[in-house]
């Protein structure tokens, strides 16, 4: 990988181990809320699966739902989407307030930038930590799905990969947002209510996108979650998910591009915020 550095103060050699030290620091902080974060990671899927999968699912399956879902049971239909949405939730949660506060309130990032660790290493370390949190949550989610018999076949574990990719693609852009915000002013609230929640509802998580009026279907197409859902559902259900192979490739490319651009913009944002 070529490191194209635009900021003069970091132009010198990379400091080996910088990114890793940042991840280590964040993991050390995670230990403080490890119990609550793990119990949430297991508790939330239990509740969702009981209520939506078994409760609502029983109604859907008895009604006309089965046909619209391509003959798949409702629990099996939503399980991959629930996992992906949970991954997104963790990724967004970690990269919004907690990461922003390291710029603004605790100023921890400023403290790190006084060491040989460069701002882009701080950005990378922060995102890798988010990824670690997301993977942990997604694996636990997968295990709960397994217990409910809704974890799909042998390719099912790939849901963890697609979910992590979706979550990190979004998280990278939120980190970029953190780096340019000088006052929070309710921005994250708007993000949660008017971006994340609608995205969760209209991304083919609970019902197929073709049920959305044609004029509004673009909402799903631009939603990272839709791309993640299609990948996860195919991982779990295979051909029964009804996603053509070419489209799978497109989904993967879109999510990788989201992540790649997000990382580039976030690194640049961290540079500008911390070295000025």
């Amino acid at each position: 990988m070529t490191v194209h550095d635009t900021s003069p103060a970091t132009a010198a050699s990379r400091w080996p181990g910088g990114t890793r030290a940042v991840v280590e620091y964040l993991v050390l902080g995670w230990r403080r809320y490890l119990v609550s974060s793990l119990s949430e990671a297991v508790g939330a899927p239990l509740l969702y699966l009981l209520a939506l999968g078994l409760g609502l699912g029983a109604l859907v399956d008895r009604g006309s739902g089965g046909g619209a879902l391509g003959g798949v049971g409702y629990l099996d239909y939503i399980a991959p989407a629930l996992l992906t949405a949970a991954a997104l939730q963790v990724g967004v949660g970690e990269s919004a307030y907690p990461a922003y506060s390291r710029f603004k309130w605790t100023r921890v990032f400023l403290g790190i930038s006084a060491t040989p660790v460069s701002p882009r290493q701080i950005a990378d370390g922060q995102l890798l930590f988010v990824a670690l949190r997301v993977v942990t949550g997604a694996v636990l989610y997968y295990l709960v799905l397994l217990a409910f018999g809704a974890a799909g076949g042998g390719w099912g574990p790939l849901m963890v990969v697609s979910g992590t990719l979706t979550a990190c693609g979004c998280a990278a852009w939120i980190l970029a947002l953190d780096s340019v915000l000088t006052s929070e002013g309710g921005v994250f609230n708007v993000l949660f209510r008017f971006v994340i929640v609608p995205m969760t509802l209209f991304s083919g998580s609970f019902f197929p996108v073709d049920r959305i009026p044609a004029a509004l279907r673009w909402v799903a197409w631009v939603s990272p979650l839709w791309h993640g859902n299609e990948l996860a559902r195919t991982a779990a259900l295979g051909g029964a998910a009804g996603v053509p192979a070419a489209r799978l490739l497109l989904h993967a490319v879109v999510l990788l591009a989201l992540l790649g651009t997000g990382v580039a913009v976030a690194r640049r944002g961290f540079d500008r915020r911390l070295l000025r």
Partner: protein, 318 residues
């Protein structure tokens, strides 16, 4: 280079400038062309009021703020090229603490050592040594959010020493602390100085500058207005003694013409007249002879505060 007794320069600056673009397209010139030369082992201070440009200068020296123009060499290297390598050899105490309040005191030190690439075992060991040095051993396991302001400041200083820096940058190390906490801190800094660490500090307290600095610059409005040891500055810009005459606020102006001509220089403050004189007691006798009746009178030695007042016409602390 290398001659015995020839101490290499730790910081060299020529025409160093820093401006910030602010909202609305305006430019703030925080530092407007300063020259610096700090030899290794010296305790060097920037004395100046808020907004003088001290922090902006310190951030350029710390290699976290690219200079706008001019020359700058830290430890013989250019921050724009070798920022990473220079930062590895510096210790930084920023104006505002940026500790992790959620971690314990000891963990904060450990984590910081890791940023410098120290092995884990070495980080824990060094953390314990520095807790001792900062007199925080009893607080080792406490969460940072439960520390007093003075303790947090000491922890920040301990943290800045994790990499055994050659140069320690301290931006207003004791601002906001009570007198006792300040004295504890000064004592620690004095020890570091004795160990040969180069100290670069900013302050708007003249007593701090007098206590700690071998040499200092007076900074105001982004430029340096004077330079020297505390004693040189006082000798150069003030008299040996100062006679302070206190009045009911407002009445000092009536006394002003009466004392005129008695001494070289008189400063008028809201409730006081300051008469700069080589011999305060004699001047007091002369003032009394002329019929001036202040509420109280005090003869004291000149301080850096007087130097600043002379140079800028303003007080250091507003």
């Amino acid at each position: 280079m290398g001659r015995p007794g020839d101490r290499p320069s730790v910081i060299t600056a020529r025409g160093l400038r820093k401006s910030f673009e602010v909202k609305g397209g305006a430019t703030v010139e925080a530092v407007r062309g300063i020259d610096l030369e700090v030899p290794a082992g010296q305790a060097f201070g920037f004395l100046g009021p808020n907004g003088a440009g001290k922090s902006s200068t310190m951030r350029m020296i710390a290699c976290v703020s690219p200079r706008t123009s001019g020359e700058l060499r830290i430890l013989g290297r250019d921050p724009a090229v070798d920022g990473v390598a220079i930062r590895a050899r510096l210790g930084v105490v920023p104006q505002q603490d940026n500790l992790d309040e959620e971690l314990s005191v000891r963990e904060n030190l450990f984590v910081y050592g890791r940023y410098f690439g120290l092995p884990r075992a070495r980080c824990w060991q060094r953390a314990d040594e520095l807790l001792e040095f900062a007199q925080l051993t009893e607080k080792s396991g406490a969460k940072v959010e439960n520390l007093s302001g003075g303790m947090k400041r000491r922890l920040t200083i301990a943290r800045s020493l994790m990499n055994e820096p050659e140069v320690l940058l301290l931006d207003e190390p004791t601002t906001g602390l009570d007198p006792q906490a300040r004295h504890v801190l000064w004592d620690r800094l004095f020890r570091l100085k004795q160990q040969g660490v180069t100290l670069i500090l900013t302050t708007h307290y003249m007593d701090e500058a007098e206590q700690l600095c071998d040499r200092l610059v007076v900074m105001d409005g982004g430029v340096l207005v004077a330079e020297g040891s505390p004693a040189e500055l006082i000798a150069g810009y003030s008299t040996r003694e100062v006679l302070e005459l206190r009045f009911v606020p407002g009445e000092q102006t009536a006394a002003e013409p009466l004392v005129a001509g008695l001494v070289e220089r008189v400063e008028t403050l809201p409730d006081r007249l300051l008469l700069y004189t080589p011999d305060g007691d004699r001047t007091l006798a002369e003032v009394t002879e002329r019929g001036v009746r202040p509420v109280s009178a005090l003869v004291r030695r000149s301080t850096l505060e007087d130097v600043f007042l002379h140079l800028t016409g303003r007080s250091l602390v507003d």
